[in-house]
């Protein structure tokens, strides 16, 4: 087996008194897409800034692409590509100039510069925009240009910090396609995101990070399966009594309130088999049912399961989430 592309042991980082990252360890294997999923302020960007040498390594061991971050930061820099969270483009440079500047900073030769610029503007479909100033590009095009720039040096691993933040849904979906393509061409991808669907869609493995610690790490499927088989969402006339009835059922592994009027029931067996029995119990208890839904767990549910709360900055939309995102 090949060596891990990224190996992090006991990474901690503090800003004055604030502990932003608190003893994080993980490994990223060659060719995989590895995601850090967590709310804003969880420490994702700090980890990426340390791994990309923008912040000093305070505590812990980090090896990226076979190079120790502490002793060979320049070797690490040569081996990685970075797409920052905010747009870091010069509005008054053209697409081609942006790529050329980057390539020259990394010491590429003239022939390589031309060849890779041609290749990358094609990859991100900006051929017709080569000599257009960045300020005339749309948000999605700017992002694509940044991805192309990150790939200029053919990095072993591409770091992306919130790659689709602020983009509309269609543009996001296309961005995911580009990233899958880049990954299929052999580039390992490390990304941070606070979008559940993004982590779910793109990743081979996900680490859920909250308050500076990794609280779960696995494949998206395994993370979801760990919750039990299915989730049943109920709205009843009397949630308090309904809860007692539901918890008495042997197949029910947990009952939580969700939203203002709902109960979220995790069950250990196929939901469609258990629900008739649950409804029967409720009817016997004289509890009127107002609404019902069964779904497979989503990454949202995984996050709530592990942290006891929803993503801090996402608005609560319990029913829409249940209705709209059946998987």
């Amino acid at each position: 087996m090949q060596d891990d592309v990224i190996r992090v042991e006991g990474l901690s980082h503090r800003f004055d008194d604030l502990v932003a990252v608190d003893g994080v360890s993980f490994r990223v294997r060659p060719g995989e897409v590895f995601s850090f999923l967590g709310p804003n302020g969880a420490g994702k960007s700090t980890v990426i800034n340390v791994l990309t040498t923008l912040l000093p390594l305070q505590e812990g061991e980090v090896v990226v692409a076979g190079h120790d971050l502490r002793t060979e930061p320049d070797r690490v820099r040569e081996a990685i590509g970075i797409v920052f969270q905010e747009v870091t483009l010069d509005r008054d440079m053209t697409v081609a100039e942006t790529l050329l500047f980057h390539g020259r900073l990394y010491g590429l030769l003239r022939g390589e510069l031309r060849e890779r610029t041609d290749e990358l503007v094609r990859l991100v479909e900006l051929e017709t925009k080569r000599d257009v100033l960045v300020k005339h590009l749309s948000g999605g095009m700017k992002r694509r240009l940044e991805i192309a720039r990150g790939l200029m040096t053919r990095p072993t691993v591409l770091f992306l910090d919130e790659p689709t933040i602020g983009l509309d849904p269609q543009t996001r979906a296309r961005m995911w396609d580009y990233l899958r393509g880049v990954n299929q061409d052999g580039t390992t991808i490390f990304l941070t995101t606070h979008y559940m669907d993004e982590a779910d869609q793109l990743s081979d493995r996900i680490a859920i990070i909250d308050r500076g610690r990794i609280i779960a790490e696995d494949t998206p499927l395994a993370l979801k399966n760990a919750l039990g088989q299915d989730l049943v969402y109920l709205e009843t006339a009397d949630n308090g009594r309904a809860r007692a009835v539901l918890e008495a059922d042997p197949a029910v592994t947990g009952v939580r309130e969700k939203g203002p009027a709902g109960l979220l029931v995790t069950v250990s067996e196929d939901g469609t088999r258990i629900v008739p029995r649950l409804l029967e119990s409720l009817r016997e208890g004289g509890i009127t049912l107002d609404g019902l839904n069964i779904k497979k767990p989503s990454m949202d549910d995984v996050f709530i399961h592990h942290t006891g709360r929803a993503l801090r900055d996402e608005g609560a939309e319990p029913f829409a989430a249940v209705m709209g995102r059946r998987r």
Partner: protein, 278 residues
């Protein structure tokens, strides 16, 4: 050999020529100084100076010729002090993060900025020289073509080293600044004493002692001295005074500028090395 500072330089020059209005105004502004301030002042100063007995045996020059060296120096000062400004823009909205994450010694950033400052100052100095000669500035009077070439090279050498010093100083300040407005404030604060506590517009010999000492420590005084030496001569009279500058004085002035540039280079290098941009 390390030459990635040329990439930083290339990109800064790209912006310089791309912002047409900025480019144009930076070229027109010094010419306006010369045209309005210069002509207005010289018409009154020259009238006063005409009453003083003429010194025989050394060339006598009008005020316009005298202050042209000051205008070249002042323009270089302004341009160079604002040279570091692009670092703030790059830090807040642009490429500095990318540059800082590149596997490249940070000295490239400082050198690239310095080179671009020299180029901008050189272009401006050339334009003021040409425009001044058109307006009647009597530079290079009685020089042979070879002497003119040497004089122009000498002027550019002084302007370049002077420019480097202030670009480095400006970069050292800018790298840790958050806002362009704050930077603008500091620059405005710096330019006034530097400009007026110098020999750019008037002789420093008549200054009160404290101000005179200050003016001797002022790089602007030394670059003006250098320009006058090459453009007018080692000895001349203007506004009723005699100015002399021996070869030793000239070397002292150049040495002072060189020292200033060296110190600010080290300062900028240190500041850029420890800077964190995230």
């Amino acid at each position: 050999m390390e030459q990635r500072f040329l990439t930083i330089y290339w990109r800064d020059m790209l912006r310089y020529v791309r912002f047409r209005t900025l480019l144009l105004s930076s070229l027109v502004q010094p010419a306006l100084w010369l045209a309005f301030f210069g002509i207005a002042m010289s018409s009154s100063f020259d009238a006063v100076a005409a009453q003083a007995p003429a010194v025989t045996g050394i060339p006598q020059v009008g005020y316009l010729t005298f202050m042209c060296a000051g205008v070249i120096s002042m323009t270089t000062l302004f341009t160079s002090l604002f040279g570091g400004m692009s670092l703030i823009f790059d830090k807040n909205w642009g490429l500095l993060r990318e540059v800082m994450a590149a596997p490249m010694p940070r000295s490239n950033i400082v050198l690239g900025m310095g080179l671009s400052g020299i180029t901008k100052s050189g272009i401006q100095a050339g334009i003021i020289l040409a425009f001044g000669l058109l307006l009647g500035v009597r530079f290079f009077a009685g020089y042979s073509p070879l002497q003119v070439v040497i004089a122009v090279l000498g002027i550019f050498a002084f302007v370049s080293v002077f420019s480097l010093g202030f670009v480095f100083l400006s970069s050292a300040i800018a790298i840790s600044m958050e806002s362009p407005e704050g930077m603008q404030g500091i620059m405005t604060l710096l330019t006034m004493p530097i400009f007026f506590a110098s020999n750019a517009l008037y002789p420093v010999e008549a200054f009160p002692e404290a101000l005179r000492v200050l003016s001797l420590a002022n790089p602007l005084t030394h670059v003006v001295t250098g320009i006058r030496y090459f453009a007018i001569g080692p000895e001349f009279s203007a506004i009723g005074r005699t100015f002399t500058c021996s070869t030793a004085d000239l070397l002292v002035s150049f040495g002072a500028l060189f020292l200033f540039a060296a110190v600010t280079f080290l300062l900028a290098l240190h500041r850029v090395r420890v800077a964190r941009v995230t």
